[in-house]
Symmetry: C2
Subunit: 277 residues, 2 copies
């Protein structure tokens, strides 16, 4: 009955969303279980947070551009609510709410879908399964190194032959901007710099000129970027990697890594798989 | 940084939604994995469907009352969309869309959250994890019996000491209403009857009188209900249970079972756990 009603209405799945049939699910579940196993081996514990949150919880944390991509609406009780945009902000909410009962340091993993009201384009979806691990309540570089060791372990278990974990720090970037005496909109400059791996130095330069940054300043910016070194904290993280058995072939300091969200303040990572392509 | 911003805003989780910390997650994951193991042992395969669907896919399948409880809104592209209210209608969509490629019979399980914009009350949440199994593309009573065998196995594995799977059929109910020559709104009468286990025969009688059903008809209705027997198909399902090794102590024909959604047309089940309470 249901099925025939459906047929008549020419049903379709929303653009940017996907149905997963058993064949696709087999792959997804294999990867998901491998992630869970690895996370738990490293001592991370699961949490889950609601799909819907008060808009006030979600908004103002991701930056203006990203805020626009939150699916938000008014519910039957006239509450302004939104769908989970990432897993970090809801976890920050949990930490704020249950700070008295959660033992620190708190190593949590979270595997849940997130939603982004983006224009769809190749390989970008509006609903994606996000997998987060974080350690809260410690300032130790060991905690950051451990995250990198997890990434390294997962990629090896998944049989990726060649990959590089690119490592940088927002502090390194802020110091560079300061050294260059850049007083213009720093976020906007970082957003352009973030495209370095896609459009290269020429592309970034062109974009910055478009943003009215004087050419001389841009030249200085790239000079500083090329000379950049990890700050003391990040160097400690990198030193720990050796102790954790992460091969030097699998990571690299890269001062052009920025990452989009406003809430990044310390170390930032991005992994590039080169084989298989 | 994030955490302190959160603290200042006096953050809270939406009413009817829950955060699950590691202790609660351990229980949830234990049960979830036990369900998955059992489903797969019985030959059911996983699928997943999107959180958001066109409203036209969701609406008009659950009945007027339930339709009002769908979280729905207009997205950035002016599409009328809604959040998954159950797992059956999205699966019917999948069957309609991929009918050429899905081999029949199709035994699928689906474990995903669903959302219902209900008024919150004790033990009712607006976001719940739903676990469905269904067999599509067969008329065999064995398929229905298998579902009951899965329920039986799961409850035993979860160490529930005493439980009863109550079995009925919408066909049995429709035949009773026909035999009673009831011409009034059948759905409304069934909705009242569905409360039998909560408010008893007196309570249901009172409600039906309130709905202007003549007292004589109500008396006849309960006479027929007390004499009701499984129809031929349902009797075949029950016969299969023995073959599948389900103990007679664990199920029972109950002609007062209705279940709320409009799309039920054949056998319906509901399980009551009596020990532990």
């Amino acid at each position: 009955m249901l099925k025939s009603t459906m047929n008549q209405n020419k049903v379709q799945t929303l653009k940017g969303f996907r149905d997963f049939l058993p064949e696709a699910m087999a792959v997804r579940n294999y990867v998901k279980n491998l992630l869970i196993d690895t996370f738990e081996t490293f001592g991370f514990e699961p949490i889950e947070t609601p799909t819907l949150e008060y808009s006030s919880v979600l908004m103002g944390k991701y930056g203006d551009e990203a805020d626009k991509l939150v699916y938000s609406f008014t519910d039957n009780g006239d509450r302004q609510i939104g769908m989970r945009y990432d897993l970090t902000v809801p976890t920050a909410k949990v930490l704020a709410m249950y700070s008295q009962t959660i033992p620190m340091p708190f190593k949590r993993y979270q595997i849940q879908p997130v939603w982004r009201a983006e224009n769809t384009q190749k390989g970008r979806y509006r609903e994606v399964l996000q997998c987060d691990i974080d350690t809260f309540g410690t300032n130790s570089p060991i905690a950051d190194a451990e995250i990198l060791a997890v990434i390294n372990t997962v990629l090896q278990k998944l049989n990726f032959k060649t990959f590089t974990i690119l490592i940088n720090s927002r502090i390194v970037l802020n110091n560079i901007l300061k050294a260059c005496k850049i007083t213009e909109d720093k976020n906007s400059i970082l957003q352009s710099l973030d495209k370095f791996s896609k459009i290269g130095q020429d592309g970034v330069t062109k974009e910055l000129i478009g943003k009215n940054i004087p050419k001389a300043k841009i030249t200085v910016l790239f000079k500083y970027i090329k000379q950049a070194q990890p700050d003391e904290y990040l160097q400690n993280v990198i030193n720990q990697l050796k102790i954790l058995g992460v091969s030097k072939n699998n990571y690299q300091f890269d001062p052009t890594i920025v990452r989009g969200l406003d809430y990044y303040t310390g170390p930032i990572f991005e992994t590039v798989v080169t084989k298989p392509k």
